[in-house]
Amino acid sequence: MLRNQMIVTHAYHFLCEILLVFLLMLPIFHHKYLMVPYWSYLLLAVGTCAVFTLMHTKKMSNMLYFGALPVLFITLYLLNYPVVFTIILPIIFVWRFVFIKKYQDIRKEKQYLLITCLLGAINIILINDPRYLIYVLALLLILFFGFMVSHYVSVHKNQRQM
């Protein structure tokens, strides 16, 4: 796998995973905390993915990713996330990215699709909020477009222009 393709693959795998984490936590947010941070989480996920991917392109060491933990703690705290999630989410974010980037050729799209479908079906019973479908849709789009882009970037530039 080419380096460009690998970076894109890692990025969309990471983004899918943290959106799946959100779908998993959604019933807890909805029923226990009576608030669901749809937009702030989406922005946080995209931002974290962008920063981590940038660090990945610069081939930074794993310790620097853990260095992002306090920043994430503070951000989540400022966004009024429950304390439990303020602690858990940054750890999950860093752990998953470091874990994913270990693999040269990671192909977990089918598992993600299955989990998305399962969580989508479960949440439709538990939650009566149309906004959560945005997450399901976003997950599907990220999966398919991520997969396409990862292959597209491996095509030689001359061929792309043809």
């Binding site: 799209e109 089918k110 699709l113 009566n128 479908l133």
Partner: protein
């Protein structure tokens, strides 16, 4: 033209989404949630796009396949060009083209290790929509034979199922690479003395074609009486002799015995086959350069009324090229027909004196046949290989031919 083959897990993605769509629909009906119907609609759109992509991807892929021959000598390099046109609206990106080259050639830029020569080649390839993609594979001729390009397959990722699709090219690819045999020198060929009347025009010969007068000259005492040209003598008031075209039969017949010395063992093939063909290639080259006609008989089995290989007599560049191609096409595992039966058939065709060169073993039990040929003024020679070397020389066939002479 292309057979589409899907990955084992190809249908999984479709199934996941289809089942989810059904679940959404059922839950929407049970719980009276319009949201579920919206979700179901989203999945149905995806499934529709999936099916359209599935059916149309790779269907308008065309590989230019015109009959073509690439002719090479061992060690020569050339390039094999493949032109693939994708007339579909979908690009085929980040795929790989797999193909198998015949053993006579190898792609020296793609195959680095000796052990990989037999493995199919894998070339990264993306085929953009509505464009023609060209692949050039540099090849080098390795050994005699005819190399075909087989097992052409293009594998690329299915963009909606996260699996791969394989397109297998079903027609046989009509380009063939013919590697001619390497000519191994045979010393002594130039010393073969032709003493047979024929049709070949030469400067010095004891034979003349009395149908082809070329002029007159002053009579000499040694000239026969019938050669005196009386008209010319009367005109010049001096005896004149008619001069005729000097002719000789300088054609050759190459008879190759590819049979193994262990005739009862049908499994073993002749280890010397390549050397025999290389000597024959040299003889063909020699006769071509000397503008001599030649024909070839070889006891390699072939289908048809004549069970052995026969290249009729001819001369010139085209004939030489045909002879090399014939030698290149002989299979390494070629079955042989009985050598004595072939000689018997050749003998029936021998109506004029000829110069015959045997390549390969001449079994002892064929003495009677060869003796009969000699009575027809046929000059017989044999290629003798020097011990444990590829060098060989030609010498007249003895009366008592020895078995396994080479």
């Amino acid at each position: 033209m292309w057979k589409k083959e899907f990955d084992v897990e190809h249908i999984k993605s479709f199934e996941y989404v289809a089942i989810t769509a059904i679940i959404f629909f059922i839950l929407g009906l049970i719980y009276q949630k319009p949201l579920a119907i919206v979700g179901m609609g989203m999945f149905v759109i995806f499934l529709t796009v999936y099916k359209i992509y599935d059916r149309s991807v790779g269907t308008k892929l065309q590989l230019k396949n015109e009959p073509r021959q690439v002719k090479l000598f061992p060690g020569e390099k050339a390039s094999l060009r493949f032109e693939i046109e994708n007339n579909s609206i979908f690009p085929l990106i980040n795929g790989s083209c797999h193909l198998q080259l015949g053993s006579s050639i190898y792609a020296y830029t793609l195959v680095k290790k000796e052990k990989q020569y037999w493995e199919p080649l894998s070339i990264p390839l993306s085929i953009i929509q509505s464009k023609t993609t060209v692949i050039d594979i540099p090849i080098e001729a390795k050994q005699r034979g005819v190399a075909l390009i087989t097992n052409i397959r293009y594998t690329f990722p299915h963009l909606l199922s996260f699996s791969s699709i394989s397109l297998k090219y079903m027609p046989s690819y009509q380009t063939e690479v013919i590697v001619f045999p390497k000519a191994l020198p045979v010393s002594g060929v130039e010393q073969i003395f032709h003493s047979i009347p024929g049709t070949g025009r030469v400067n010095l010969s004891p034979f003349e074609d009395i149908q082809s007068p070329i002029g007159t000259r002053t009579y000499q005492y040694s000239d026969p009486f019938y050669k005196i040209n009386w008209k010319a003598s009367a005109k010049s008031q001096q005896l004149q002799t008619t001069e005729y075209e000097k002719v000789i039969d300088h054609s050759y017949v190459f008879v190759i015995n590819i049979a193994n010395e262990y005739r009862t063992d049908m499994v073993r093939f002749n280890k010397m086959l390549e050397d025999y063909l290389s000597y024959t290639a040299y003889l063909c080259e020699y006769t071509f350069h000397h503008n001599s006609p030649f024909e070839i008989f070889m006891n390699a089995r072939k289908p048809g009324s004549i069970p052995y290989i026969h290249l009729p007599e001819g001369e010139g560049k085209n004939h030489y090229a045909r002879s090399l191609e014939l030698l290149a096409r002989i299979s390494k595992q070629s079955l042989s027909v009985s050598f004595d039966k072939m000689l018997y058939q050749i003998g029936k065709q021998l109506v004029t004196p000829k110069t015959i060169i045997f390549v390969g073993d001449v079994p002892a039990n064929l003495t009677q046949i060869t003796r009969n040929w000699k009575q027809k003024q046929v000059s017989l020679y044999q290629i003798i290989q020097m011990d444990e070397e590829q060098a060989a020389y030609v010498k007249p066939l003895k009366k008592e031919v020895s078995q396994y002479a080479t």
